[in-house]
Structure formats: C-alpha cells, structure tokens
Symmetry: C2
Subunit: 585 residues, 2 copies
C-alpha cells in the first residue's frame, strides 16, 4: 500500500514502505546515491546503497530530476549529524530495496523549486510551476476554505443551486463576455457577472436559503488582483434582515477561520458606517490593523492665516491630517517629496507637512500658525515631540483618496502592520447611489436591487444622493472581502429605483420587466451577500498575487500562455454562429 | 423564532409558534377562514376564528393565493374526522393569533400546484413553477447528491480544483461555444466541453487526486435529455489503474445511494465487456433490470431454407431474436406491425416473428422451418407455449440497434421494469476507435487521451479497429451515468494515437503540442472518470425530464423564456469585440 511522504515518521523506523513521486534532486556521494523524493504531501530522502541493492542503485544511476519513480525501502533513522530541520521527515530516510522508473523526464525549462522563474515562463509551463509546494499548498487551502464554507451553509439548511452560465447581457454593470448563438441568428448570450437576478428569483420561488460557489465573468481591463473569470461565494436568504445577515456571516467566518487557519476570531465584528470609514480612514475598506487615522482640521483651518487651507474649506472642501507618531526624524525632505508625489496621483495638489521638535511646529508652513493656532493644534492632535503631520487640503473626494491611500502606504513603509492578524470589519449604511459626472446620472452604488433605508424612500425622487442603503460590506485587513444588501422585494419600489437611475419605462420593461413582474406574485423579503473567493484565499494564504490562488490563471491581457487561448477559429465555426471578424486596420 | 412547517408536530400541541410562507389556498367556511400555508419544507393549515382574533380574521379576509404572510398561532390537534392524510401535518392546525401580509400577490398565470401547465408557460414563469414541492424536492436531492459526492471525495483526500471556463477551441469533439476576445482581436475563447486536458495537467503537476463539480458546454442540437450547459462530476487520480478506479467509484456510489436514497447497494457491481453488452443487449448501456436478452441465431439461420435469414448471414450480417415469454396472445398482428415500424426507425428492413402455440411454431414464416429446424429452435431458445419470438436479420449494426432498442421498448410496454431498483453495471473493454464512414477516418471512441490496452498497442498502426481501450462506463438502469479511462501518459504513445486519428504532425503540434511536451517532464500514470450529474439526479429523482433537475433550464432551442436570452446586443458591444453579425438573407 503506497504511502504519502508525510505519513512516514520515526514511528515507522525499521518498516518497509512504498512511495511514489517525483525526483526533486539526485546527489551521488561516496558510492551512494541520494534522491529527494517529492509527492503532494512533502519530501523524503531515499538512499541507494550497493550493499543493500545493486540493481536499485543501477536504476538510480539513470534517474534524473523530475523522473516519476516508485520506491520500496526500509525506514531508517538518520544519524543526528545528518538531520535536516527544513523538512518534517528530516530525521529519517528510506533505504531503497527497489526502485522503478514510472516516467522519465527531460531537463525542464526551469527547476521546480526555482522561485526566480519569470511569471510568463511559469505560466507557459504551469504544470511544472504547480509542482511548487507553495502553490500546491495554496490550492489545498482554497479547497479547505471551500469545504468549510459548504459545511457551514449545508448545516444551516442552505441549498446549493446552480444558475446558468449562458445568460443575458444587461447594460448595468461591467462589460459582458458574449457568446454568439447558433440557433438564434444574430443573438448573444452573456456570461454572468454574478447570479444576482437568478438568486433573487430563487427567493421568489420559495427556496428560502440558497448558496453557490460560482464562476463569474467581467471583461474589464485587468489589474494585479483581477482575472476575467473569478469565483464568488454567493448567498441569498428569505425572511431575513440586516442584523440576521451579519450574524450569519460572522458565524460562517468564525468557522472558516477555525477550519482553515486554526484561529478563533472575536464576534461580533466591529462595525463602521460608510460615512465614518471615509471620514476617519479616507477609504471605504479601512485596514484597522494600525492607527494613523485621518483628523479633520477643517474648522481649525478657518482660524489660521494660511490661504491654502482656508480656501479649500471656503470652496466646500476640507483639510485633514495624518499624524505619524515619533517618526519625524526618519523623514527627510526628499522622503516627504516622494510622499507628495504619491498623493498627487490621487489628485492632491500638494502635501503640507509639519514636524514637532522642542515643543514647537517646524517646517515651511509653520510660519502661518500663530501661538494660539499652535496651542490648538497641539491639543487637537495630541502632538508630542517627534511627530510628523501630513496635511491635504482639497475637495472631500481628493482629501480622502489621497490621505486614505497615503495612510496604507505609510503603514507598509513603516512596518506598522502586525503579521498574522485578521481584522474583520463591517462597513454599513452605504449610499444607495453614486453620481457619475461623465454620464451625468446616478448609478447604483452596489446594484439596482439594493433596498433603500425605509426612512429614506421618500428622498428617492428629490435627493437621491442622500438616500442610504441597507447594504453592508465585509472588510478584511483593508480589502473588500464581500458585499451584500437587503433587496427590494416590492415591484413599485423597484420601479422607483429604475426611475431614479434614469431608465425610461420602456428601457426598464425591456431589460428588467420580467423581474418586476415576478415581484408581483408574492415576493418574500430577502437579502444576501457575495464574497470574492479568490481574494479571500489570497488574504488567508498571505500572497499578493492573484495568480497564485488559481490553478490556471490568465495573464494581464487575459491570455492563456500554456494553451494559447484565445486563438483564431475556423471560418466554418464563425459561419455557423452567424458572425464575421471585423478588425480595424 | 420562526419555524418551518415540517417542524410543527403534535408534540407542540398547545404551544404558540411562528411561521412564514406562501398562501396556497384560502377557504371560508362557517365564519372561519382556513389557509394552507406553504413553505420550503411543507404545508400546514392555519385557521382564523373571530372568537380568537377579530383583527387576524379581518386581515385574512384580504389574503389571496400566493400572498406571503407571517403567522403566529397556537398548535391544535384536529378532530380525527378532519385529519388530512395527504400531508405530514394533517393531524394538526394552527389557530392564528396574528397574521401579517409581507407581500401581496396578483392572480398568477397558473396555480402553483397545477401540473398541467404547458412547459413554455412554466419556463416563462419559472419562479412560480419552482414553487412546486416536486421541483423543490428535486433541487434538494441534487444538493444532497452533490454533498454526498463531495464528502466522499474530501475524505478520500481528493482536492476540489477549479479549471478555466474561458478556454481554447479544439476541433475534436462536439461543437464549441465561442467567446470573442476584446483584447486579442479576431481571436476567441471556447467554453469547455470538459476539463479533460486541465485535469490531466493537474496530474502532471503532482496534485494526485482532483475533483470538480463543474459546468461544461456543448453547442449541439438539443434532445429531451440534453441542455447546452450541463454539469459533470469530474474526477482524476494519479498512480492508479482500472481496478482501483472501479473500486473507488463503487465506494462513492455506495455512499451516494445510502445518503440520498437510503439504499444499500451491493458491490462489486456486475461487469460486462462492451462486446458482451452489444451481443446480448444490442446496446452499450444495457438495462439489466429485466431479461429479454438477444439470442444469436446466425449459425441456426444457415440451416433453414429462409432466404431473408440466410442472405443476411451470407452478407456478413447476423440474425438475432428476442423471446417474449408467455405473451404471444397479447400481441395482435397490428401490435406486431407497430413493433416493426419501430425497428424500421433503427434501419431494420423488417421484423420477422413466430408464436409458439400447441408445441409448434405459428406465423407467416413458420413454413420455412422444417421439423429439425423447429426442434433446434425450441431447444436453442428454450421455447414454451405462449412465447412470442421477434427476429431481425441484417448487418450487425442494424440488428443490435433495432433489437436493443426494441428490448427496452418491450420492457416498458409490458411493464417488466421493477420500480425503485437501481442496477449499476460496469461496461469495460471498449474499442479505442470508431470508424466514421462520412469522414473516412477513425475517431476516438471516448477521447484521444484514452490509453489502449498494453497488448493492443502494436495494432495501433495496422488494425486500429481491433484495439481495445482501458476505458470503463458506469451504467445505471440503461443510462450511461459516467465514463472514464486510464489515460496515456507517454508522449510517444500519445503521438501514435494522434497519428492513428489522422492528424498530421503539424496539426497535432498546433493543437496538442503543449500537452505532448508536458508529458516529457515526468508524467505519472493516471486515470479518471466523469459523471453526468444532471442525468444522475434524473435517475435518482425518477423523472424523465431533464428540465426538472435544473433550476433555470433552457428550451429545446437553447433559449431562456423568462429572461429572453439569447438576445440582440448593441453595436458598441460588437465593435469592442471586433465582430459583426452576418445573417444570411
């Protein structure tokens, strides 16, 4: 019976075992041959000794890296001087009686354990890159996470229901991937950006508790943490409210963290309104593992004779500052110039700064602060010698974007982020709409099916920007892990919502008429949430490359370098689909 | 705390409970109002009595079918004369204290419990059709089946790994669904027909045990039991052989049948070679729940003076017969004519027949049988009075197709199929190739990665039609439930295989070069299987309509009647994808 390497322990010393795997390395030493045998579960040293088996040694002489072999031999304790503390099996080795080559290997384009191989070469030979224990362990973690979520939801009476991949294109949201229909000439399916409408229809059908771990698709320009296809943990529930949904998700995350990381999280998770998050952290997904909060100095700014600050406030903007405690001496003029360059990428016109030395403010703008101003600032910001203060004065949007991102950058640069800490946080009370300057209309901040707070419904027509939503995001260490909401389940409210989004009645009926009709036949109150599984795995695995958590990822240009996809297809195929390629010269 | 209706039992008599659900029916009787309240788990009767709560009764008066309500009331035992044996809660009812209308409903286009609604109307209002307990129970069974499979494979150390949906088009196999690329002009992804190549690459990467429950896609003309997207239970394993694979799958099915149906199956499952299946049952997926086997009379046919039989054999064909025991008097001339019409759809030129009466053969062809022939036939077929014998004389292909299908039809017509019996069967030793007359070349009977039996490898060049494969199908009650094989893991054998399939070296390298290259870096022996999940659910649920097992199925023309998909898209969308619609006038 074949064993995994990790099953071989000192307890088996003296016993004969049978192993299969890949040869990671061969070393010849003093008439003996040593190979490191790798399987899915680890690594073990196998020794070939002519006094034990001449024929095994003979075979071993032909063995090269990445050969697949089957080995039988006796488990021996190593001499303590030969212990290898880097591997769990480092105190033992296998004295080979027999070895069989199951498959030969030519010299691979890179050594499996080589971490320096370029990403493109790794992707082209993905099956070799995936031999790295690091990547295999991430895929195992992903499986554990999946399994933990499923176990939890199964036990809570949720039903895993599949929804279509060949779906319908809708104009709200990101760009769709399209699939031409052969049967319906000139028509197209779309790959779903989420199963949102289907899961709501399942609630209308009375399934009550639905979940799915499901591929979704967005044809957007790729970023480091994006892939054209991504996986969602998708959950929906009837007869629920926001409190119940948050509690359910906290129970789920508690189980996941226990199963996958062996960590006990504390519930309930902290909560923060969207307004508070933006105001204190400058971003809608605060990383609460470190402090460095934003301080609002807008009122203070009006008391000092510094035009940059005053005019920002007078023009409807604000002044906010971050205090970097005790670090002033570590920031040279040049360092601060670099930080200014950084905030400029978020639209700030500049980064004002002060240092606190010998109980006084220092720096180019210190001269604008009179004695009273200085005293006020010391009190407001609880300043101490050694502090560095970084200010941005601008519109609310620019102040928050620049300082919010600067805050995260400073924490990384100053190494303020504790390792192995998982700070979950709910961000609630989101605005229902976002105004898009270019399009000149409101868009749904989450999606058009999110319900407004009951007390804000009357503002839908007149002051949509003031309407808050029954929406909640779960944030982990500064990343949006998932988002959800209590949905609209009333046809007339859904119609109002589309009106606020600028849909004509015709557009609404054409695109979402069936859904509004569906709401008219007995729709239960319902809500749900969707998690980005890939990102969840990234955060738990501690990697910042999304390709590490996907077995066969695409490149930044959405290509598969191994299979060479996408690729050209035959004229016959296009003809059957009633389409032509139309490339602009 | 809200309860499901199924949680309300006589044990709760006298207690106050809280329920939520849909109103299936309202009846007014003697000043009282009765409603049947339906939730995901069942049905219960709620009574409104003016002496208990006038305001609840008042609200109840406004309630209509499919309203969503929240009810609080006391559990009462019914008077035995009022027991409803049709529902588990039939001995009790809820005396309502309060009722709240959560959602109104206008009169639906059909009553939820109406089984006669046309399929098109049901699909258009799928969310109403899905309120039927029958369909909800099937989706629950599907979930249970999924869960059972996952639990089994998780415990056997298999890892659930996702593979890409945006994949590459390959010319072998069925027609692909294509997805135009925006970034790579004029190029297309294909939706996968199966994750076959990916899972083999995962074996090459050393993941050892993989599974996935995964959507696959085929753009084929639809049949009753086909959908454009379908779900596979996909399994692959390294360092395995056929015996191990069959045993693994028998353990899995044992657990599934126990978990889902509460049935203990007997293992090992019966096995039959492909040759035996075709010879005795005429089909490659025999239904072994009944007898009616095919009897080969080719040798006998040469002994009688009946040209139809003799010439079939002389032309390289055969004569086979089915004996329908004791049923001759139930088959009129007209009945047999109908059977003849049936076999003609499978290419038979006619259906010869004999009846056994008073120890003699009767019927139009009886005259061709002399005394010796009669005696021989009686002995060969163990004939008894009352038997009906049905013969087809033709090519092997036609004889098997017509009698194999006739056999299944007779079993259905004569009600020979026992209910609630699940006959699992392995069909092994498949031919590696199928010859396609139209294309004038061999195709892979399963797929090009299936390994030939070791002893047949040398016939690959000269006599491919004689090569048997290490392939196995799992058959349940006459349906192919799944199929798998031990794969090729040797680059040169894989190259031979493509040669036998008529690929030029260039075609092979262009389409599968990366895979053959992959085999050169240490490929473990491996094999796997894939189950059609939708069909598995159909068979366990006892439905013959595949749409019953899918939440949102497509029509026979691959359309979604509810969402109206596929649909036209904007010119802007097409432009971004570098394609034009090209409809022939």
């Amino acid at each position: 019976m074949r064993k995994y390497t990790r099953e071989i322990t000192e307890a088996l010393t003296g016993e004969t075992v049978h192993l299969k795997g890949w040869v990671q390395k061969r070393r010849d030493l003093g008439g003996l041959i040593f190979i490191d045998l790798r399987d899915r579960e680890g690594l073990i040293q196998v020794v070939f000794n002519p006094e034990v088996s001449g024929s095994a040694l003979e075979t071993a002489e032909r063995i090269r890296s990445e050969f697949v072999v089957s080995v039988t031999g006796k488990v021996l304790e190593r001499d303590p001087s030969q212990y290898n503390d880097n591997i769990p099996t480092g105190k033992i080795e296998i004295m080979a009686d027999t070895v069989e080559v199951l498959s030969k290997a030519k010299t691979p384009p890179f050594q499996v354990m080589d971490e320096t191989v370029s990403e493109d070469v790794g992707l082209k030979y993905r099956y070799l890159d995936l031999r790295k224990p690091k990547l295999q362990n991430i895929l195992k973690l992903r499986h554990q996470l999946n399994r933990s979520v499923r176990n939890f939801l199964d036990n809570e009476d949720f039903i895993d229901i599949e929804t279509p991949v060949l779906s319908k294109s809708t104009p709200e949201g990101a760009r769709d991937y399209l699939v031409p229909s052969r049967v319906h000439e000139g028509e197209f399916y779309a790959l779903p950006q989420s199963p949102q409408i289907y899961k709501q229809l399942l609630m209308l059908s009375g399934m009550e508790k639905y979940y799915q771990i499901v591929k979704c698709f967005r044809d957007e320009d790729l970023r480091a943490d994006r892939q054209p296809e991504f996986t969602q943990i998708d959950i929906e529930m009837s007869f629920t409210d926001e409190e119940q949904m948050l509690a359910l998700n906290e129970r789920m995350i508690t189980q996941v963290m226990r199963d996958v990381k062996g960590i006990e999280v504390t519930t309930p998770f902290p909560r923060m309104t969207y307004h508070q998050a933006m105001s204190e952290y400058g971003v809608d997904k605060p990383d609460t593992r470190f402090d460095l909060k934003l301080n609002d100095l807008s009122a203070f700014a009006e008391t000092i004779d510094f035009k940059v600050f005053r005019s920002a406030v007078e023009n409807g903007g604000m002044v906010k500052a971050i205090v970097v405690k005790g670090e002033e001496s570590n920031f040279s003029r040049k360092d601060i110039d670099k930080l200014e360059g950084y905030v400029k990428t978020y639209g700030a016109k500049g980064l004002a700064w002060l240092k606190v030395k010998e109980d006084a403010l220092n720096g180019p703008i210190a001269k604008f602060f009179n004695e009273q101003n200085q005293a006020d600032l010391f009190e407001t910001l609880s300043l101490e010698n050694g502090d560095l203060i970084l200010f941005v004065a601008d519109s609310e949007k620019v102040v928050h974007a620049s300082l919010g991102n600067l805050r995260n950058k400073l924490a990384r640069d100053l190494d303020l982020i504790p390792e192995n800490q998982f700070n979950f946080l709910w961000v609630t009370d989101w605005p229902l709409f976002e105004y898009d300057e270019d399009a000149g209309r409101y868009f749904a901040a989450h999606h058009p099916f999110t319900s407004p707070k009951a007390e804000d419904v009357e503002k839908l027509d007149e002051a949509p920007e003031q309407v808050l939503a029954n929406a909640y995001d779960i944030v982990l260490n500064g990343y949006e892990l998932g988002g959800g909401s209590i949905r609209i389940h009333d046809a007339s409210l859904q119609e109002k919502m589309f009106k606020a989004l600028g849909f004509t009645d015709e557009e609404r009926d054409e695109q979402f008429g069936f859904l509004i009709e569906a709401f008219k036949y007995g729709a239960p109150p319902h809500g749900g949430i969707a998690y980005g599984l890939d990102r969840f795995v990234m955060l738990l695995a501690g990697t910042d490359n999304i390709r590490d958590v996907i077995a066969f990822p695409k490149t930044a240009s959405a290509g598969d370098l191994m299979m060479n996809a996408p690729s050209e297809v035959s004229k016959q195929q296009l003809k059957e689909l009633h389409i032509d390629v139309d490339i602009e010269e």
